[in-house]
């Protein structure tokens, strides 16, 4: 036995044994531990054992046998520890994955996590993965998302990036979803488009895996009887794994994974791990899909609720409208008819009375007062009409020509000349025809004083962007902007009912319809009105 060797010394100094390194100082004072961990691998100890053999020591073969068995068992333990470590890592990974998957109801997030887990080094470390989803309505299995590099150069770049950033799975998945999901979709668009298989194609390898609810490791894809040549060409690999995603016995989709860059062998172990991983993924995908559907239904319900509320408000408005309508109708009939009779007979009496008739003054007063009351009534009725516009699409030319025709007699009798210059190809405008007719008639016939010598009114229509612009130039009425602005305020303090509310009513009516109405006055050139009529419903407030 080599007496220089330290195997039988209780305690040794650092440097006495070449196998004891820094950090293993506890072995210096523990002979038993040192013998077990270091001596059986030490060449000096083995030399000593050889000497025992040479000396024909009967313990030598026994010790050699013990030593061999010890070393075999030690190797086995190390292998088991390594296996255990791997499994621990795998369980940790699956736990982390499960946590992420369970906490998400966003389909894209779930898919990002799933594919990241398959392709990340910290996950299953596959080079590339495709996710296909079952479309039950269409009866197909359809490519949805792909992840992974397309060539070695891209692979090096991506893997370096991952290595440098040292991100956990959740961060990796988040990063993928936020920054790469769209680009990966676009990158694999051509592949995904072709990854469509009818669920009825029972001979197809993917459908076989799906129906069998078991993963299939495909080797020799280019010669495989169940792998269509176009699929093998599309993937460009000889070996790939097709893993079905099944949730509660329902076919959710499929993951195809391969090592297209490194060509590392896909082991049975890989397949089992991926199979374990497939269940929560399938469940999460189904849950996220259901959540999406639920969200769509919820939006529909919310939308329906909103519409219902609008309808309720509309009903209330309609009821108010009907009430206003009934009231105004009642006023019209109950007040206007007696007024007409009083005023009419008073005029008749006035017509038949002589200038010297002492009652003439009284009759004239009755005529004047009924005229005033009729004016008040007109304004109230017009104002109530203005509260609830009823809009539809109308022809602008018809609107203007109607207004000009309606006012032609009175305008001519006052010595006015009017003209209309329409633009070509005018679109229909979305307006309340009655109210706009009233506005145009009022603008033409309004009783603003300050008549100039030029009694002309011109109307021009012009097509604008989503609108038709009506420009009315009245050269006859010469007033200041301040005076005109005052006339545009309904029921202002200085306004009495029946004292010419026409323009103010026009503005109110147009405001209610969200139609811009601009009136510009110049004491020298007259009034210019601009009315912008919308051609689309949404152009109105």
């Amino acid at each position: 036995m080599d007496r220089e060797c330290c195997w039988d010394r209780e305690a040794i100094e650092q440097g006495d044994c070449p196998n004891v390194g820094v950090g293993e100082e506890d072995l210096l004072v523990s002979k038993r531990q040192r013998n077990l961990e270091k001596c059986c691998e030490c060449p000096r100890f083995l030399n000593g054992l050889k000497q025992l053999h040479d000396d024909n020591n009967p313990l030598a073969p026994v010790l050699t046998s013990f030593l061999a068995e010890y070393r075999r068992q030690k190797t086995q333990i190390q292998s088991l520890v390594s296996f255990l470590d791997n499994k621990t890592l795998e369980i940790r990974f699956l736990h982390e994955l499960g946590y992420v998957l369970q906490s998400s109801v966003d389909l894209d997030e779930v898919l990002s996590v799933a594919l990241t887990a398959i392709t990340a080094g910290k996950g299953f470390g596959m080079n590339r993965a495709f996710l296909l989803l079952c479309d039950r309505e269409e009866g197909i299995l359809k490519g949805y998302l792909g992840l992974g590099p397309r060539n070695m150069e891209e692979a090096s770049q991506v893997w370096n990036e991952i290595l440098q950033n040292d991100m956990d799975l959740q961060t990796l998945a988040q990063n993928f979803r936020l920054n790469k999901l769209s680009s990966e979709r676009a990158k694999f668009h051509d592949v995904l488009e072709q990854l469509t298989v009818p669920l009825s194609n029972k001979d197809h390898i993917l459908i076989k895996a799906l129906d069998g609810k078991r993963p299939i490791m495909v080797e020799g894809a280019f010669q495989h009887p169940d792998v269509p040549p176009e699929l093998a060409r599309l993937l460009g690999v000889d070996t790939f794994l097709s893993m079905p995603l099944i949730s509660r016995n329902r076919r959710v989709g499929m993951i195809i994974a391969d090592n297209c860059i490194t060509h590392r062998t896909i082991t049975e172990e890989d397949m089992h791990s991926l199979e374990t991983f497939g269940f929560p993924v399938a469940f999460a995908i189904e849950r996220a899909s259901l959540y999406d559907k639920l969200q769509i239904e919820l939006n529909r319900v919310t939308e329906a609720g909103k519409k219902l509320k609008e309808q309720q408000e509309l009903i209330v408005r309609m009821e108010n409208m009907a009430l206003v309508g009934r009231i105004t109708s009642s006023i019209a009939h109950s007040v206007r008819n007696p007024l007409m009779i009083i005023g009419g007979f008073a005029r008749s009496m006035l017509k038949n009375s002589t200038e010297s008739d002492p009652r003439r003054t009284f009759i004239e007063s009755i005529v004047a007062e009924t005229r005033q009351l009729e004016g008040v009534l007109d304004e109230i009725l017009n104002y109530s009409d203005s509260l609830y516009p009823t809009r539809d699409f109308w022809d602008v030319n018809q609107l203007v020509e109607n207004a000009l025709r309606d006012t032609a007699d009175s305008m001519t009798s006052l010595g006015y000349s009017t003209c209309y210059t329409p633009d070509g190809d005018l679109p229909a405008v979305y307006i309340d025809f009655k109210q706009l007719s009233y506005c145009l008639r009022t603008v033409l016939q309004n009783d603003i004083n300050g008549i100039s010598e030029d009694l002309s009114i011109s109307i021009r229509s012009q097509k604008g962007e989503n609108c038709v612009i009506l420009r009315i130039e009245d050269c006859s009425r010469l007033i200041s902007q301040a005076e005109l602005d005052h006339l545009l305020v309904p029921f202002s303090e200085t306004h009495d009912l029946g004292a010419g509310l026409g323009l103010a009513l026009c503005k109110t009516m147009l405001d209610k319809q969200g139609i811009p109405f601009v009136a510009q006055a110049d004491v020298h050139s007259g009034i210019r009105y601009t009315i912008t009529l919308p051609t689309r419903k949404e152009e109105q407030s």
Binding site: L339, M340, I342, G343, G344, F345, R347, V367, D409
Partner: protein, 126 residues
């Protein structure tokens, strides 16, 4: 002399119309309802009808539609307390529209205008 049919459910309005329009040189026949109007129409030819839109429980618009269908040669002027019908489709069938007022000048002018137009049409053989 032109013969006018005035239909209004208010007796005093019928009286006012009759007096004023007679003064203008027309022969005026009045009716208080659609049924009475139909009766009067059976009894003779009229050059023009003046209709109220709201006739108690009846609609003057319906009577207008009936007259346009059955007596399209007779023009009709609507005379109503409601100015809102002026721009209503249903009222566009009428040849004229006047909002009721104590001042019958507008109604008289409208009657004269519509009758002149009718005379022109007859003259032109339309």
């Amino acid at each position: 002399m032109s013969r006018l049919l005035v239909v209004d459910d208010e007796a005093n309005i019928r009286l006012l119309y009759a007096e004023e329009l007679k003064d203008e040189g027309y022969e005026v026949v009045t009716a208080a309802s659609s049924a009475e109007a139909a009766e009067k129409l059976q009894g003779g030819v009229f050059d023009l009808a003046v209709l109220d839109i709201k006739l108690k429980n009846e609609s003057g618009i319906e009577l207008l539609q009936k007259l346009v269908k059955e007596r399209h040669e007779m023009p009709v002027i609507l005379c109503s307390a409601f100015s809102c019908y002026k721009d209503d489709f249903s009222a566009w069938l009428a040849d004229g529209y006047v909002v009721k007022s104590g001042d019958l000048t507008e109604l008289k002018q409208e009657i004269a205008r519509v009758l002149a137009k009718k005379a022109q049409k007859i003259k032109a053989g339309l």
